[in-house]
């Protein structure tokens, strides 16, 4: 005979304000198997918990029912209390008489009290049938997968690797580095971006605990926390990276017809079909882009080479010039690439961002080559950019590249390009905008100031205007940076630009508004820089689906709780960080990356994870092998196995999440969901149907 103790919480006023506790107590005292009934102001407090623990220790009760708030937040607290007092924690049941009773029926105290009685009676009915269960433990694989090799992915990997965890760092591009590699300098210190990033890139690539897998994407993910099976698809490089030294000889011989916009230079220049993404690329290896390759030697990948009259094979210029024989067209094209399978215990998503394309914003004459995005401006002023950092109007970049080619070939050539006198920055292009993205992209105010400062310090005669709606510079040393910019003579105007119209000779007429003067203003500018919105990378929604996590309305990955769990997701074992979670600058991305790494470490370090035993179990004697349960399981946790020549269902304990769908669907009632058995649930239903008369 079970000895049930019922503990009723006032929850301050939250429950007692609508439910008549005394009346409920009198009712509960009369329920079968109830030996003790107590009430208290806050049952979850220390003294409240002591009441329960005392009764257990004295042997008065061996089943506990707490009538209080929601089990979602408080069940673990009371379970622990039972355990600490020496009672199996699964001999505990909770009745929610707050969210589902007092709060819902605040204005009808009589009915609220009645309902409370019935809810507690149902809990008692179930408590009489509770089984003692033991927590189970699953082994955790201690490897971690980091998706994305930008600054966030790099720091997450380094922290984990230094702590002794094996990390797989998967990156979509041929090189790690992400968007930070494209920056010239970083605010507010104006550090050279490549100078601070490259050592980290090298460190992570050389770390014994890190396996770098670049030019690859995540194909599929199966399993759950502690045991993920990830398939990664590696794209073909057409260059043997084991032999390639990154000398770059092949870059110069790729024929001029095989040119496509250079992704690293944000389309301001072109790259060949064979390329190394940028000079500090890690790994520094060449890659052939088959969509750009024109097969100049007349030989597609995998075909037999054409031969001279003497039978010698005609090789492509890139094959000929390669000193190590790494570049070879013998390998046929396989769009499927190579699949690599990884076993990991946790996954960190750090896929970063991209900036919106200027072509979306028709009111700013985006067809003009002198209207550019801020990231393009960053490339323009970079020493590794299309003009080696020489500031010229972008419309003259083709002239510059032509001149450069002539000079490299040793020809005489005069450089006639126009230098800008006026540069205008436009904020909030696509951000804070109902037509595109309602969020603020957070980093643009600072990076416009940064670009303006770099330009003004280098070319004091430049006339620079920045049009802000609001100036947002809240970070450490940020507002001081803003003041420095004002003192330098950079013209700060509060008012959004409504239109940019093209003038002859590729200048631009900027139509803005000066809120301080209360007047529309206009100016003629040589370059207009649009601070376009930051967006998540295009395939993020797809990737999220594969990982079982979700994206918010604006496309960024959704964290478990906006305030308290910014790097966790609702899927255990999957963490997020950096701009994939939302727009942010480098220090915040690094902080989140370290947080995600730390969370992953906390999860995996023990090597085992405690999991509730509230999972399904198949009574194979009752199972008929019909197989209805198998496709119903959302976690793929149930399968048919061979038992003495017959098919019987079996639950994979590691995968089962205890949702109960199989138990409900089984026509033979062969499946039990521990903690919610047929008998327990039916007892609750019958009790409620009989208005609180406890039934078995």
């Amino acid at each position: 005979m079970p000895k049930i103790g019922v503990y009723i919480c006032h929850c301050g006023e939250n429950i007692a304000g609508a439910v008549n506790i005394e009346e409920v107590k009198k009712f509960v005292e009369k329920l079968p198997d109830v030996v003790v009934v107590r009430d208290y102001l806050f049952m979850c407090s220390d003294p409240g918990q002591e009441l329960i623990k005392e009764d257990i220790r004295k042997g008065l009760v061996d089943r506990v029912v707490v009538a209080a708030c929601t089990p979602r937040t408080h069940e673990p607290i009371f379970r622990r209390a039972c355990e600490e007092a020496g009672l199996n924690k699964y001999y505990f049941e909770m009745a929610n008489i707050r969210d589902q009773c007092s709060w819902a029926h605040w204005h009808d105290k009589e009915k609220a009290t009645e309902k409370a009685k019935q809810l507690i009676a149902a809990a008692v009915a179930k408590a009489r049938l509770l089984e003692p269960l033991e927590d189970r433990y699953i082994d955790l694989n201690k490897n971690v997968l980091v998706i994305g090799g930008g600054i966030a992915g790099i720091f997450a990997s380094l922290d984990l690797a230094n702590a002794g965890f094996k990390v797989y760092l998967v990156e979509k591009s041929p090189s790690i580095g992400g968007n930070m590699a494209k920056l010239d300098k970083t605010f507010p210190t104006n550090d050279c971006s490549a100078c601070i990033l490259t050592p980290l890139m090298v460190e992570v690539a050389n770390h014994p605990n890190v396996e770098l897998i670049t030019y690859a994407e995540v194909e599929s993910v199966e399993g759950t926390v502690g045991n993920f099976k990830v398939r990664v698809r590696k794209k073909q490089t057409y260059v043997d990276w084991n032999k390639c030294t990154g000398c770059g000889a092949c870059l110069n011989v790729c024929p001029p017809k095989a040119r496509v916009p250079d992704e690293f230079n944000e389309g301001l220049s072109l790259r060949g079909a064979i390329y190394i993404p940028f000079p500090q690329a890690v790994p520094k290896k060449a890659v052939i882009d088959p969509d750009a390759c024109i097969s100049c030697s007349g030989r597609w990948f995998g075909e037999e080479p054409r031969r001279t009259k003497d039978g010698k094979p005609i090789l492509a210029p890139c094959e000929k010039v390669c000193p190590t024989g790494a570049c070879s067209r013998d390998e046929p094209r396989d769009p499927n690439g190579e699949i690599v399978e990884l076993d990991v215990g946790a996954i960190i998503v750090a896929t970063g961002y991209r900036v919106m394309d200027k072509s979306n914003f028709k009111e700013f004459s985006p067809e003009s080559p002198n209207v550019i995005t801020a990231l393009q401006m960053e490339r323009l002023i970079s020493a590794t950019g299309p003009t080696e950092g020489k500031l010229i109007v972008p419309s003259d970049i083709p002239k510059y590249l032509d001149w450069k080619k002539k000079v490299e070939k040793g020809k005489e050539a005069k450089l006639e390009v126009r230098k800008p006198h006026t540069i205008t920055f436009v904020s909030c292009v696509g951000s804070r905008d109902e037509r595109y993205h309602t969020y603020c992209s957070k980093v643009c105010c600072m990076y416009m100031l940064k670009q303006a400062m770099l330009l003004k310090e280098k070319y004091p005669d430049l006339d620079i205007y920045i049009f802000f709606i609001d100036v947002r510079t809240p970070g450490k040393d940020f507002d001081e940076y803003y003041m420095r910019c004002r003192k330098l003579g950079i013209k700060i105007i509060k008012g959004k630009v409504g239109g940019v119209q093209r003038l002859p000779d590729e200048r631009l007429l900027v139509k803005g508004f000066d809120a301080d003067l209360g007047k529309p203003v206009e100016l003629i500018s040589d370059i207009v820089v649009l601070a376009t919105a930051i967006e998540p990378n295009m395939d993020l929604k797809d990737l999220a689906r594969k990982l079982g996590i979700s994206v918010g309305a604006e496309g960024f990955l959704r964290e478990r709780h906006t305030k308290l769990y910014p790097v966790d997701t609702l899927t255990e074992g999957v963490f997020i960080c950096g701009c994939a979670q939302g727009p942010k600058d480098i220090p915040d991305s690094v902080a989140q990356a370290k947080a995600a790494a730390s969370s992953a470490m906390s999860l995996l370090a023990p090597g085992k994870m405690r999991v509730e035993p509230l999972i399904s179990e198949v009574d194979q004697k009752k199972c008929s092998g019909c197989g209805i349960c198998v496709p119903l399981c959302p976690y793929g946790a149930i399968e048919l196995v061979d038992v003495n020549g017959k098919k019987r269902a079996k639950v994979n304990e590691a995968k089962c999440k205890g949702c109960g769908v199989c138990a409900a669907a089984c026509p033979s009632k062969a499946i039990t969901l521990h903690g919610f058995t047929y008998e327990q649930v039916l007892a609750q239903i019958r009790t409620l149907a009989r208005r609180g008369e406890v039934s078995a």
């Binding site: 028709k362 009111e363 067809e367 239109g499 119209q501 093209r502 002859p504």
Partner: protein, 299 residues
């Protein structure tokens, strides 16, 4: 193809040569015109739209219903009418309460509007329905060597969401330029192409201020592309650029003269119709350019 010809007040009374131009060119291009008997003011911006929305929509709906009951759409050469009718239609289609109120009022004259009939612009009918090829074939005189400054006009472009036909880039419109190019002319971009001409309420309220806009526009046209002719798709822009130009000359603020035509008038001339009828009313003289067209470009 049949359309109800919606004239609007300015074309009917001030510039009936534009009306005549349309009555000549469209039948010749295979577009049948219905008189839309009983049409009234669209209603223009200074009247019902300034008083109350339902009243505005009711007057507009009566005009649109004239087409709807015959199963045809309307088309107009006046941007203001184009704007007022389409904005009203958009309001009626977006808010069923407005549509209901409007039909309550229309029932008092035994009419109903369901939202099917729309008002298109003659330029779009020429561009989409008739097509540039057909236009090229139909002209007797071509405009080789003539530079045209186009003035699509604000209501041709904005707000893009209410119009049945939309430019791909409402800040870099190409339809009118293409229509002029189909006649053989050059129709280059100039930086103030989409700027407002200042007609309508602005001019009624303060003519001096509205002339500022005209002067800027004309100076830009003169300096950047030195056009021989200004062509517009809007009867209001036509009157403003034609008439205000003369005022500016009188005041000595400009010293040049660029004739102004509505596109349908230019097309009518190129198709060989009588210039006196299709382009006979103007303030800034047109004889020179018309003469040049008729002499120079015989095909």
């Amino acid at each position: 193809m049949k359309y109800g010809l919606f004239l609007g007040c300015n074309i009917s009374f001030n510039r009936p040569d534009v009306e005549q131009a349309m009555r000549k060119i469209f039948p010749a291009l295979g577009v049948e015109l219905d008189d839309l008997k009983g049409q009234s003011c669209c209603p223009t911006w200074g009247t019902l739209p300034s008083i109350d929305i339902v009243g505005w929509c009711a007057v507009a709906a009566r005009n649109l219903a004239l087409g709807e009951e015959k199963g045809i759409d309307l088309m107009t050469a006046c941007n203001s009418c184009y704007g007022s009718l389409n904005e009203a239609r958009h309001k009626m289609l977006s808010d069923p309460k407005i549509m209901e109120r409007v039909n309550e009022i229309l029932s008092k004259i035994g009419k109903r509007y369901e939202g099917r009939a729309k008002c298109r612009h003659v330029a779009w009918v020429l561009y989409k329905d008739v097509g540039l090829e057909k236009i090229k074939e139909s002209i007797k005189y071509s405009l080789d060597g003539i530079t045209i400054a186009v003035q699509p006009g604000c209501h041709f472009l904005w707000p893009s969401e209410v119009y049945p036909d939309k430019e791909e880039d409402p800040f870099n419109p190409v339809v009118l330029r293409e229509l002029c190019k189909a006649l053989g002319a050059d129709a280059p971009y100039y930086s103030k192409l989409i700027d407002c001409c200042g007609m309508g309420a602005l001019r009624s309220t303060d003519p001096e201020k509205s002339f500022i806009l005209v002067k800027e526009k004309l100076q830009c046209i003169k300096e950047e592309i030195d056009a021989d002719l200004i062509v517009t798709t809007c009867s209001s822009c036509l009157i403003q650029l034609d008439d205000a130009q003369e005022q500016l000359r009188k005041k000595g603020e400009i010293d040049f003269s660029i004739p102004v035509l509505h596109y349908v008038q230019l097309l009518a001339i190129c198709m060989g119709f009588e210039p006196e009828q299709v382009a006979g009313i103007c303030v800034t003289p047109r004889d020179e350019i018309i003469g040049r067209i008729l002499e120079g470009g015989k095909r």
